[in-house]
Symmetry: C2
Subunit: 605 residues, 2 copies
């Protein structure tokens, strides 16, 4: 029997199970960035009792665990396997848990004229008589005075009973020119917009007749247990095609739960929901629809489908009204997905007449330039460093994560999310810290940590230089929280990827950074980062701060706009067709630009 | 344990099971015209052993069983219940079995120009390159040079793998403007047409590229176990709405089996079948699609839907290609269904410029008149007498059924189907017999049996006069096969219903029977009947025999035509919209005409 602490949750182990398997079985969500490959070191747990029943410490574990860690009983949950049955007790530290994340659902509110694809028409239907026997369907069409061209089979199935129960006065629900439901005149007409992020799902319940957002919710994308980055998940699928349906089922379950949660909160039912609008990167898009994403990982990285799609919710696997529809925004390319199209809609950069940029920062960062004449996009592999991965004390936005940092007289000031006791440092905090270290010359332009400035903050750990942000007496983890030389390198690579994308795009279109009218920063990390820090370390170009707009979950906003407006759907299709995708790897001087962008210094184009 | 003879098939009985339940459980198909209500007397079985374990003989049984029957152990299978467990042996006579039926699949062959909704286009698709990354779907559209507006989700799911496995040379299968499949260039493109008769299903497998019919099959509609007539089945559904899905599932299972049987015979697979075209009366139409048919049984008998419908095969519940479609022809009214529209197409009566009639004889008989200006239809409840129900020795078309009769010098000449030993008399035989009895004045115009002519043929049985067709020494059932006074009354009612329909239609449109250019007789019974007999007993009007065309399963032919031609589908929708349905019950003089039509004499209008 294994017991997980501090929950005291017990579970029967089987020989060969990893501690990660058993934790998931016990419904304790342990972080696994690499999907159980032993490559990220994020699933650290402490074996309190029964070490002798587990597999010996592996080479992979040794590269993530210090000697101290090992002697304290730390293991990587994905590597430690049960070899023999016995009483095992495992403590799961807060930093290895998913539970406490702050998930971003807020985004800018871009006004849109209400004209949803789903419409309700209340009608009084004539009854058939012996003198004039018409079908229920014909009488309904007569009352609707509409050119509805088809009727869903589910609607036909319920039509005769509903007409008679409701005494021939009903609401007909139309999706474009199809009748998808007939029900009581008092029916609600709701829609659900969802942003399918690689790590986070954000959902919005909308009243399609008032345009109001009735509720918002979010949860972690359950697919992260097969790898926090997309390529790991695709690799799982390439190795075993059946994993595609496993990953899809996990996702659909979560989305269906979000819908249920939101409708319940407003005393509605899932059958009141007539449309789901979904956005996501191309992988999430494919995985949501059950389309094999393998080729996204193979040069030349083609998506299977780019165009906008409308399917019956049943076909997709969503539990909404029987006749309900799912609309998925178009993709642009293999690494520029429907979420980017939605963000373009939400930021309205396609409308601006002067040059502007939209940057959606994530593991992949999509950058879209409107050069005043057209739209151009690149995708750049910025990696998960901003989300805390590959950073020694990196954590996601969660209670206790250090989110901003300032260095004053060799003293570190910091603020944590929710004012919790520090558990680690999240993206915006790391950015601040590095920017401040550059400012104080603790880091030089090349990123080398100078141990002679603010000596009291610097320590060496197994030969690697580290700057102490918070001493162990003040942290929740009984360890110093530091930024190491290695962490700085990770951030340099990540920010260089973004800067390279920006530079290539601007160069390609002959635009200078001072010509930029606006830079929109979308995505959760983008919401929290300090734009000045981002400029100082050379991630964003030097522009007046007033031109930088942090728009939060713009993809979710774009999805909501499409839910409320058929016109915005056409706009999405139109915009997606017009965005020119530029493949970074084939651009001249790509390598040179990237190497130059590694430097920690301001830039302009 | 119960044993059914002569198969020696054994089955474990439970207290409360009827012998009918147990026979069905043992896969022995016992005739049940009334659906187990004890109202038709067709499920006679002989209990050889273990009578003491069964319920006592009921009042219902007494009205169908003679004293001799009872002493020989005969019971009605639907009434005899197991009261106690024990060794029971039950013999099921050939006349109570369904197995040996002759099912009609042949129909006229009406030529049609090949232009199916399903089309295959063979293409060579360009591969994506880093310089020009397009989605698989976009590249396919480019190769197709078509304005395909949508692509099925199943097709998207298989698209990337198929393109690469087939080295980018594939067959794209389109349904109108939707891409429904992409597969090997060698793929077959098949379609299935089905006539969903109340008692019989007739299926046809077609090659949609050559237009050839590759195979035909038929089977009994398994719904007959819930009643051979439609109203009995609807009553089951009205009493318990769940029966709708039970009846639908039985039907779908049979249709799926027919498809599998036919594709197997040509070494094809169900995934080669891309479209199913279905026709049937309005009840069968609704039951096939899972639409509640209850209101068809309630005045004013409105259908739920009249218009032609196209749905995904998956939604309907048919196992063909994942992206396959089902097209269901339009209905005309509650009792004039899609099968009638198909028969109109097959007989092409809508094209003729001179008046003509199409009569599809069944339990309900549909009569359509083209008066030279428009199409007019009536439906008349002719009942199941022509199919042997309510006729003492009536049987369906089966081996040993007497199918034609002549009386010469008070001697009865007859022919049986398959030259089998006589087991009973089927519709065409009954019609001949009555016509011959009228000819020889054994029956007068009112239908009274005159026992003074051909005395040797007449006997009395419990007071009822009967004409002996075959003496018991020559029959397979060890009984005289007779036509009783009661049988004559049944046939009078049935033929009067048809004659009334014809007269009302012609009267309503001011057409005389001599104006008729042609009378098309469709349906199984219509194929075998002797038109002269039908004229002589006053079922059909007196017209020159050359004008009468027996067209067999015209509904099946019409379904095949729609499978092969998009134009015929539009024609079906056009024709169905133009047929004027006349409700017999509200026509003036309906009662008078009916009472006059009871007479056994020739008529003209």
């Amino acid at each position: 029997m294994i017991t997980f602490l501090p929950e005291n949750r017990r579970c029967e182990e089987r020989i060969g199970d990893t501690l990660l398997d058993l934790a998931l079985k016990s419904k304790i969500e342990v972080i696994s960035v690499c999907g159980g490959l032993g490559a990220c070191g994020k699933c650290k747990v402490r074996v309190v009792k029964g070490r002798e029943f587990l597999s010996p410490i592996s080479h992979k574990e040794r590269s993530f665990l210090t000697i101290e860690d090992i002697s304290s009983g730390y293991r990587l949950a994905c590597q430690a396997k049960v070899l023999k049955k016995g009483e095992i007790e495992v403590e799961i530290p807060v930093t290895s848990r998913r539970g406490a994340y702050i998930l971003q659902v807020e985004g800018i509110e871009t006004p849109v004229t209400l004209s949803p694809s789903v419409k309700r028409i209340c009608v009084k239907v004539r009854r058939p008589t012996l003198k004039s026997v018409k079908s229920d369907h014909d009488l309904l069409l007569e009352a609707l005075k509409t050119e509805a061209r088809s009727i869903s089979i589910s609607c036909l199935r319920s039509l005769p009973v509903v007409l008679r129960n409701e005494k021939w006065e009903v609401s007909a629900i139309l999706y474009k020119d199809e009748i998808i439901d007939v029900r009581s005149k008092k029916a609600k007409v709701l829609g659900f917009a969802v942003d399918l992020g690689s790590t986070k799902l954000a959902g919005y319940l909308l009243d399609l007749e008032t345009g109001k957002t009735l509720g918002k919710t979010s949860r972690l994308n359950p697919q992260v247990r097969y790898g926090e980055d997309i390529l790991t998940r695709i690799t799982h699928i390439m190795k075993d095609k059946r994993k595609l349906s496993v990953l899809r089922a996990l996702l659909l379950k979560a989305v269906n739960e979000m819908i249920r949660e939101l409708v319940k909160a407003v005393n509605a039912s899932t059958s009141d929901v007539y449309e789901v609008v979904a956005v996501g990167n191309t992988y999430m898009h494919h995985s949501f629809l059950g389309i094999d994403p393998s080729y996204l990982a193979l040069s030349p990285y083609p998506p299977v489908v780019r165009k906008a799609l409308t399917y019956d919710a049943k076909e997709v696997g969503l539990t909404i009204n029987e006749g309900g529809k799912v609309y998925v925004l178009p993709n642009i390319a293999g690494f520029v997905g429907a979420d980017c199209v939605a963000a373009i809609l939400a930021t309205e950069i396609y409308k601006l007449e002067k040059p502007c940029l939209m940057i959606d920062i994530g593991t992949n960062t999509e950058i879209v330039l409107n050069d005043g004449k057209g739209l151009f996009a690149v995708s750049t592999a910025s990696g998960p460093a901003f989300e805390g991965a590959h950073i020694k004390f990196g954590v996601r936005a969660m209670i206790g994560a250090i989110e901003s940092v300032a260095i004053r007289n060799c003293d570190v000031l910091y603020r944590t999310i929710g004012n919790g006791k520090p558990v680690g440092i999240c993206g915006s905090g790391i950015l601040d810290a590095i920017s401040q270290m550059v400012e104080h010359s603790i880091l030089d332009e090349s990123g080398r940590l100078n141990e002679n400035i603010c000596k009291e903050l610097i320590k060496r750990n197994e030969g690697v230089k580290e700057l102490i942000l918070v001493g162990k007496d003040k942290t929740a983890i009984n360890e110093d929280i530091t930024i190491s030389q290695k962490d700085v390198r990770e951030i340099q690579k990540a920010k260089a990827a973004i800067a390279t994308g920006i530079k290539v795009l601007l160069n390609n279109r002959g635009i200078n950074s001072e010509d930029l009218e606006a830079i929109f920063i979308a995505g959760a990390f983008g919401t929290y980062l300090d734009p000045l820090s981002a400029i100082k370390i050379g991630m964003l170009p030097r522009v007046p701060l007033v031109k930088i707009h942090q728009v939060g979950n713009a993809a979710g906003t774009g999805a909501r706009m499409c839910l409320l407006s058929d016109y915005m759907k056409r706009k999405a299709e139109d915009v997606a067709g017009k965005v020119n995708y530029i493949e970074l790897a084939v651009e001249p001087y790509f390598q040179e630009i990237y190497l130059d962008s590694i430097k920690l210094k301001e830039y302009s184009v």
